[in-house]
């Protein structure tokens, strides 16, 4: 029987607090569903480590993580200590890119018990998934500055859309859409304004669409698409987007479903050549860190996505892993409905109260 080796990297701020609860629930689920998990914690990839050593991670971080099946990641960033673009490019964005985690999966759901900022929505009305390209696109450090310190100064920023990178995320999204009941895929674009990369993206989407005749595809410009998340969130099933557009939509989607405090994410290398990474969408929230009031659900839900991913091999899903995922989700649903609730959901429970309750239900 395989033991899954998981690198637990809490990172900064509330990353540490929610990690404790995530581990608690993962251990409970593993025990109940006969899954062997072996967690190893690492105390780098955080801003204090940077202040001590001058870099976010040890030089041999890749070696240190080799052989792990996944990274269970808290949150990174503490702008008062280290600027975000340094802390993030030195850790999270490195993992995504160097471990070729080219799919960022972000489910969006409205739960009972979570106040929804949209009027007249009930659980079930919002239930879709954002598939975000996670390694290229608009997130690059290519480019530079010219005529520095003169009035003619300008910077160029490059975005890169490769055929491989574009096709593989589209393919993943089409396959996912095909496997779901509604078989609807929305492709985020902006080809009417961004004149090189986005027409290319559209062209690849059309080409991929021909291989999936059963999927109803719909290209939408990001401006109107963002508006429709608010106006008609029930229209969406699977949404595929570039790195930047996926980033925006996967904060906006959860906001429409109540709070980004619950949103999980899976950064996948579907071929399993490298560890995949599972993390909450929320950040490290320095302002509330250390007070045991952060909501741990995004971390716990991310763990559920990890178990589910472990269970998928060669196109087939092992039953106990799927059940473990579903049990964690059910426990989350119950706690959201009946409490205990952390202050962000209007309750007075602590991070650990909520984690304990979910672990107990699992």
């Amino acid at each position: 029987r395989k033991t899954y080796r998981i690198a637990a990297i809490p990172g900064d701020g509330i990353g540490n607090e929610v990690m404790t609860e995530g581990l608690k629930v993962m251990r409970a689920a593993a025990a109940r569903f006969d899954i062997d998990l072996d967690f190893v914690s690492f105390d780098w990839a955080n801003c204090d480590y940077f202040l001590k050593t001058g870099s976010m991670m040890p030089a041999n971080w890749k070696d240190l993580l080799t052989g792990f099946d996944s990274i269970y990641f808290g949150a990174v960033g503490w702008p008062d200590k280290v600027p975000d673009h340094i802390s993030l490019w030195g850790s999270l964005l490195k993992f995504r890119r160097e471990f070729d985690q080219y799919i960022n999966l972000r489910p969006v759901r409205l739960f009972e018990g979570v106040p929804c900022p949209l009027a007249h929505k009930k659980p079930g009305d919002i239930d879709f998934i954002v598939v975000r390209e996670n390694t290229e696109g608009e997130y690059t450090s290519l480019g530079g500055k010219m005529f520095e310190d003169t009035d003619r100064e300008f910077v160029i920023q490059e975005s890169i859309f490769s055929r491989i990178g574009t096709d593989r995320v589209l393919k993943f999204a089409f396959e996912l859409a095909q496997s779901r009941a509604r078989r609807r895929l929305t492709v985020a674009t902006k080809s009417n304004g961004i004149a090189i990369s986005m027409p290319y993206w559209d062209e690849r989407a059309h080409a991929m669409g021909e291989r999936f005749p059963e999927v109803a595809v719909d290209l939408q410009h990001i401006d109107i698409l963002a508006a429709r998340f608010v106006l008609q969130p029930d229209r969406f099933d699977v949404v595929v987007a570039s790195n930047l557009f996926g980033d925006i939509l996967s904060d906006l989607g959860p906001a429409c479903a109540g709070t980004i405090g619950l949103a999980p994410s899976a950064n996948l290398n579907p071929e399993r050549l490298f560890p995949s990474l599972f993390e909450p969408v929320h950040g490290s929230a320095p302002d509330i860190s250390g007070r045991n009031i952060a909501n741990p659900i995004a971390m716990i839900w991310s763990g559920a996505l990890m178990l589910n991913f472990f269970g998928e091999t060669a196109g087939h899903q092992r039953k106990n892993f799927r059940e473990a995922h579903d049990a964690v989700l059910l426990a989350i649903e119950q706690v959201l409905r009946n409490g205990p609730r952390t202050p962000d959901l209007g309750g007075a429970a602590s991070t650990s109260d909520m984690g304990d309750a979910i672990a107990r239900l699992v």
Copy 2:
């Protein structure tokens, strides 16, 4: 007494229908407030013109529009006839760029009588303005493709942020924020992911902020900022953003306030070296065009912004222009409250019914 010369360009689809109502209301306001407007209509900058001639506008379009104080613009685009990136780059985006309309102003307001998709919001809770950079940034056709038709194919897309372009939009936004009661400015960024242009944008924003100590500035990443439009729209006063982020936020904002069908915009060359352009944010909506059911309010409100802009000279606002603007807005408010309403607002009135009602109130 100056006569303002206005080029009326209806464009495609419902652009034509809403233009009729816009002209009607502008003429009513001009008569009442002693303003001399001279409208000249042009039947190019539309997709049929492209199909006839092979280009969106005559070669001498710039000469044809020289001497006009502004362009009153409907909407352009009809994807079944001409791909959007051709029709838009050949008209609207050309105006914005070649007439150096570097400010795109987009007010967002929740009106009484307009159903709001956000729960528990009342008129007054949403009232802010998006200042969008309108000539550079992410909207470029610079870049290209390499290794075409092989597996190694990729495209590069360049974004350009010039010091002049960045500083002038920031300055405009700071000045606007300073002139308002709340004096709050939110700067949209994504410097934690887009590693060259966005840190530069932040740096220029910080530098400009030092010249406006009375303005409370707040830099927010576009992902969380989009989420906050939904979760806490009352927090915003003036929001300044790059071309792309401004595009997204100025559809998302109006969606949060009920519908993008009402949203107006002003594409300004503040120095008045070139005509400015006033247009609804909504597009040409081929699906409902020709049926006299489109909501003309965005077009009419855009006209009000035009009158207001005409009235501002050398930092001073002429009274009758401001009053004309306010009278049009008041008429819009009344019609939204009491009807007649077009189908998008749940009524059965026609485009012209609504235009007539507003013109009568003015």
